[in-house]
């Protein structure tokens, strides 16, 4: 178990930067998930922590010891790879026990530990098989066992579940969560799956273009995305965005002169271009004449069983609203309303989140 400190970490491949200045502190026993689109540098960051990738500049410290120049095997980290990366010529038990063999642990002790880990993962009946004779889920477990056996200070996961089918993925997700609770080791988990990120993370790190966009608990990030990128990236169906301009009073005006949130005031210069964001589930269905209402034309309804997704347009913009299945879709023209508490506003210029002035009610 260990804490990790990363400061101004950079990685450049030839001329292309992959990681551009990452600062992050991870506490002992924390489960941190790194989330971001493909190619944003998640794997590169993880591999620099593991020692598999040279660090161009910056510092990685584990338990306050700088490990930049330590070999991967000497950092006390264990890694679970996306393609499992099991040794094809070794049996399951040899795979799991290889790190102990390298470390010179006596055979009896090794076998004892292998058996303990295998039992924990439900692999005891497969110990003599080769990786090629296992299913994807079983291979995944072997990879986990191989990582666990040394009781590493840090667990590193690089999209370990992305090769499993949906059901198995859920099962392994729960298992990883359970193991983390039992072992309490510091873990860093890379994924581009939101659901995995939201459910596993103690703390979520959203990355984009080699940089960290936002760090926080999944709830914080979901409820208060710090940037346009995070707001757009997280959430399914994705957040609706309405372009608007700030008027002389500091209110947001969108196309057709509509004011979606007439009582909120932002401290932005008049004429500033912004985007109002609202999650589909936060939209309220109201009559067309309501104050601040945006007329909504339904084009298609998707019934997902637990909820209905209403896809349509508002002032010519695509918009999605979510209704619980119990709620009927209105059969007359209607509008949607953005509750004040559900408004997210981002400056167009840099994508930064701008909160409204809190004492702005003019009732």
């Amino acid at each position: 178990m260990a804490s990790i400190r990363i400061s101004s970490l950079h990685k450049v491949y030839g001329k292309t930067p992959a990681v551009r200045g990452v600062d992050l502190s991870i506490g002992t026993g924390e489960f941190v998930v790194i989330l971001g689109p493909s190619g944003c540098g998640k794997s590169t960051l993880l591999r620099m922590i593991a020692g598999l990738e040279d660090i161009t500049s910056g510092v990685v410290a584990i338990d306050d010891v700088i490990v930049n120049d330590l070999e991967p095997g000497d950092r006390g980290c264990a890694m679970v790879f996306q393609n499992y990366a099991l040794y094809p010529h070794m049996s399951v038990s040899e795979n799991i026990g290889y790190s102990l063999k390298v470390a010179g642990v006596a055979r009896a002790e090794r076998d004892e530990k292998i058996r303990r880990v295998a039992t924990l993962l439900g692999l005891d009946t497969f110990l003599d098989r080769r990786p090629a004779q296992l299913s994807g889920g079983q291979r995944q477990r072997v990879a986990m066992g191989r990582a666990m056996i040394r009781s590493p200070r840090v667990f590193l996961f690089d999209e370990p579940l992305s090769n499993l089918d949906a059901k198995l993925r859920l099962q392994m997700r729960l298992e990883i969560k359970r193991l983390h609770r039992e072992l309490g080791s510091t873990s860093i988990f890379v994924t581009h799956d939101q659901l995995e990120a939201m459910t596993l993370a103690d703390r979520l790190v959203v990355m984009n273009g080699g940089k960290i966009e936002q760090v926080g608990t999944p709830q914080e990030i979901y409820r208060r995305p710090a940037s346009l990128f995070v707001a757009d990236f997280l959430g399914s169906p994705p957040m609706n965005f309405i372009p608007a301009v700030i008027d002389d009073e500091g209110k947001a005006v969108c196309a057709d002169g509509l004011r979606p949130c007439p009582d909120l005031i932002w401290d932005l210069e008049p004429g500033a271009e912004v985007r109002i964001g609202v999650r589909p589930g936060d939209l309220q269905i109201v009559g067309r004449s309501a104050r601040g209402a945006l007329p909504f034309e339904v084009e298609m309804v998707e019934d997902l069983g637990t909820e209905n997704h209403l896809h349509g347009t508002t002032t010519g913009l695509r918009m999605t609203a979510v209704l619980a299945t119990g709620e009927a879709v209105p059969d007359h023209p209607f509008a949607v309303l953005i509750p004040e508490s559900a408004v997210h506003l981002f400056r167009e210029r840099d994508g930064a989140r701008i909160d409204p002035r809190s004492v702005s009610r003019i009732h």
Binding site: G51, M79, F81, N83, A85, Y87, H89
Partner: protein, 294 residues
Amino acid sequence: MTTSMNRVLSSGAAVEPEVSRKARPRIRPGALTIHATMILLAFIAIFPVYWMVVSSLKAENEIFSTGLWPSAPSLDNYGFVLSQIPMLRMLANTTVVAGVTAALHVLTGLFAAYALVRWRFRFSGFVYGLIALSWLVPFQVTMIPNYVLASRLGLLDTLAGLIVPHAAAAFAVLMLYHAMKSFPTEIIEAARMDGAKHWRILWEIITPNLRASLASLGILAFISAWNEYFWPLLLSRSIENSVVQIGLQMFMTQEGNLWGPLMAASTLASLPILAIYLLLQRQVIESFMKSGLR
């Protein structure tokens, strides 16, 4: 074949039409042409070997007859060969030379390929290019310098002298380079995470997974070392320190070739190679396919 057929047959009536279609394959004219050609080529390839064995069994007065089988087959030629030259000693020498050469090929190839694939160093591409180029350098070019070097090192007329210049081969490096290059990096990284350093990664992770390539390379190197003629011819002085290919030459005299003994000696010299072919047929064929040589 039959068991799988039986299984299919017993598995139900639904698949019967399929089976009966498979059971009586129609011979298409195209396939017939191909087979005829292959048979002809195989015959052309095998006939000289057959002729060699048959001739070795013929008496001297019959050697130029065109009969496909000697009227009175005898092993006299073999007796003559064994009495004239230390054939068994030479066979043993050749086995040692070819075996050690093949082993060294594999070993040096592994080291060089690992360094080229796994280590990033300046000019590694250049080094690789040089090695590839050295493959194209004909033996005749390096023959004289090698001879001078061997004589200075006191390796003339020794088995070591036959082995050392062939201890490393560009072909071996290139072949293993490509095999290693296609080995999944993630597995090596997993081993690094498990604490393994280069030596262990090479021997415990990579090598066991390259067995097919290593076997191919070993066989090819063994055969080519076995068939080596010019270098032993240059280096060997005494017949005791010589190899079978030199032994064969003893029966080509200025008064003419002793065909019967020559064929007998050739047969003896080919036996080990033949044995390798028979024992490791699958690997040999695979290795030739892989290396693109046929």
